[in-house]
């Protein structure tokens, strides 16, 4: 187990280094001098130089990469070119919107998908099954930002249950904050819940065909008992994989949904940074999201190995 863990940890570290190099080089080719952009056209050469020094823009590509990557490790993301505040502070603030939103959506998606998938699988071939599958087919196909707009029209504009956008802030209280995240979380969760329901159903159906289920039935368990005691636990492995992958889609998908609801999260930050050519902010947010994706998938890999000893031997 330790060997497996160390091997995975090494590959995690390599992925992170590779990703940071790709991101750094991609934004390296952008023309223009941030120092000149910050100080304006009339800046003196020595002030420009001093600012470049302060921003860490002097030196070779390698030196700049190392200082950027080293900064990432210590939580120092540099200074925003437009806001002149540390990028880590900006990201920290926005994180309190984006992360709860992604977790809220993941929770909703799981709460919908597990019962729906189990229900459909246990009534395989019935109208319930066909109905659940039909709804998930729609849920996968609907653009979630459009679904979000329709929800705003119905629940915010017509029924006035929710506000049409904006974030109340956690200072206004936990429930006020959650309320402003509810419609966005539902919009984000819908396609993911649909995919997860389908995975849950097909994984359960596969498991129900296994010999050990027949054995369980043969020793006298009824269908429901066999399902709950034996099938469900074995069916969870593919479901866990998909949930791990979905977390990254939720974080990235939030980029679009935050724009529908004008939520001050990482997604809005990225778009503001793109239009202001504030590349260090773009670089940092992208790196942070990729970091989250890689680490979550690493955690899922480890979770399997804990759940299923057979997988430890594999690569």
């Amino acid at each position: 187990m330790l060997r497996y863990f160390l091997k995975r940890l090494l590959s995690l570290a390599l992925s992170l280094v590779a990703a940071s190099i790709v991101i750094f080089l991609a934004l390296e080719v952008v023309p223009g001098d941030p120092a000149a952009y910050m100080l304006g056209l009339n800046a003196q050469e020595d002030t420009l130089n001093a600012l470049r020094e302060q921003l860490g823009l002097n030196g070779t590509v390698l030196e700049r990469y190392l200082s950027w990557a080293g900064g990432l490790l210590t939580g120092d993301f540099g200074i925003s070119y437009t806001y002149r505040t540390p990028v880590s502070e900006m990201i920290g603030d926005r994180m309190w919107v984006s992360l709860p939103l992604a977790l809220y959506a993941l929770t909703l998606s799981t709460l919908i998908a597990f019962p729906a998938g189990i229900w459909a699988a246990s009534r395989r071939g019935s109208y319930v099954d066909a109905g659940v599958m039909g709804v998930t087919q729609l849920g996968v196909a609907i653009p979630n930002f459009w679904f979000a707009m329709l929800m705003v029209l119905i629940f915010a504009i017509n029924l006035r249950w929710f506000s049409a956008g904006g974030f109340a802030g956690w200072d206004a209280g936990f429930w006020a904050g959650m309320k402003s995240l509810t419609l966005p979380a539902i919009a984000l969760a819908l396609p993911q819940a649909s995919i997860l329901t389908r995975v849950m159903r097909s994984s359960l159906l596969d498991t129900l065909n296994e010999d050990f289920i027949r054995t369980a039935r043969a020793k006298g368990l009824n269908k429901a008992q066999a399902m709950w005691r034996h099938a469900l636990r074995n069916a969870l492995i593919p479901v866990l994989t998909i949930m791990g992958l979905q977390f990254s889609f939720l974080l990235a998908g939030a980029i679009i949904i935050e724009n529908v609801f004008f939520l001050p999260g990482l997604g809005r930050l990225v778009f503001q940074a793109i239009s202001a050519r504030d590349l260090i902010v773009v670089e940092s947010v992208v790196m942070l999201l990729v970091f989250a994706v890689i680490v979550v998938n690493f955690a899922v890999d480890l979770a399997y190995a804990l759940v299923d000893p057979r997988l430890r031997g594999r690569r």
Binding site: I142, A252, G253
Partner: protein, 276 residues
Amino acid sequence: MSLFLYSRTLLPGAFLTLLFAGAALLSLVWVPYDPTVLDIANKIKSPSWAHPFGTDQFGRDILSMIMVGARTSIAVALVAVGIGMLVGVPLGLAAAARKGGLLDEVIMRMNDLVFAFPSLLIAVMITAVFGASALNAIIAIGIFNIPVFARLTRGTALSLWSRDYIMAARVAGKGPARISLEHILPNVANLLIVQGTIQFSLGILAEAGLSYVGLGAQPPTASWGRMLADSQTMISFAPHLALFPGLAILLTVLGLNLLGDGLRDILDPKLRRVRA
């Protein structure tokens, strides 16, 4: 027609797909109204006989814009799938032919790396560097498609390499490249078609999302995502502006997914039993 009996989803899927592909093709030669001509006197009209889907804030005909927008969506998604296949399939074939070798390792690690970047993030980076355009949206979605096809091809090809007929071909003196092309590729093709349909539908959703946030096709190119973005501020008094482009995306993606499911039922008989 007996093919349609195998799958309940094939017929509706093919119908919806052909409907939107047909609308896109028709828009090349004919649209009800020129979608670039402004007609302020007729702005924000609800659906009527003259304008079945109504008009937008500049008096442009929504139906015409949706027909032209279909062209953008389909073109972007189709080229992105093409990039994914043209790059991904050869990589997958090469990786499988040299299983466990350095080439295999390098290709698979690069795939893992691309998978760590959700397509939206790739798009964000490309836009930050090169600016927003339909071309950059194609590249972003295309890059994301490469590992999908590379993995699928490698996985399937690996299971084929141990077959007897491949051994026979090797004994006959064929090299790995020739075997990959003549024996492996034709047997992977079915799966590629099915996966291609699914990636096509994902590409349409991705293109819509990118244009919605302004990272996709730029004006005056009509695009479903941007129509939705433009309609957002007017949704309280003109919901039809948001309704029709959204329905167009939903139905196109639904059609492609149903078509993909149907094709899988037909092309992969092993799955027929499980899904029945």
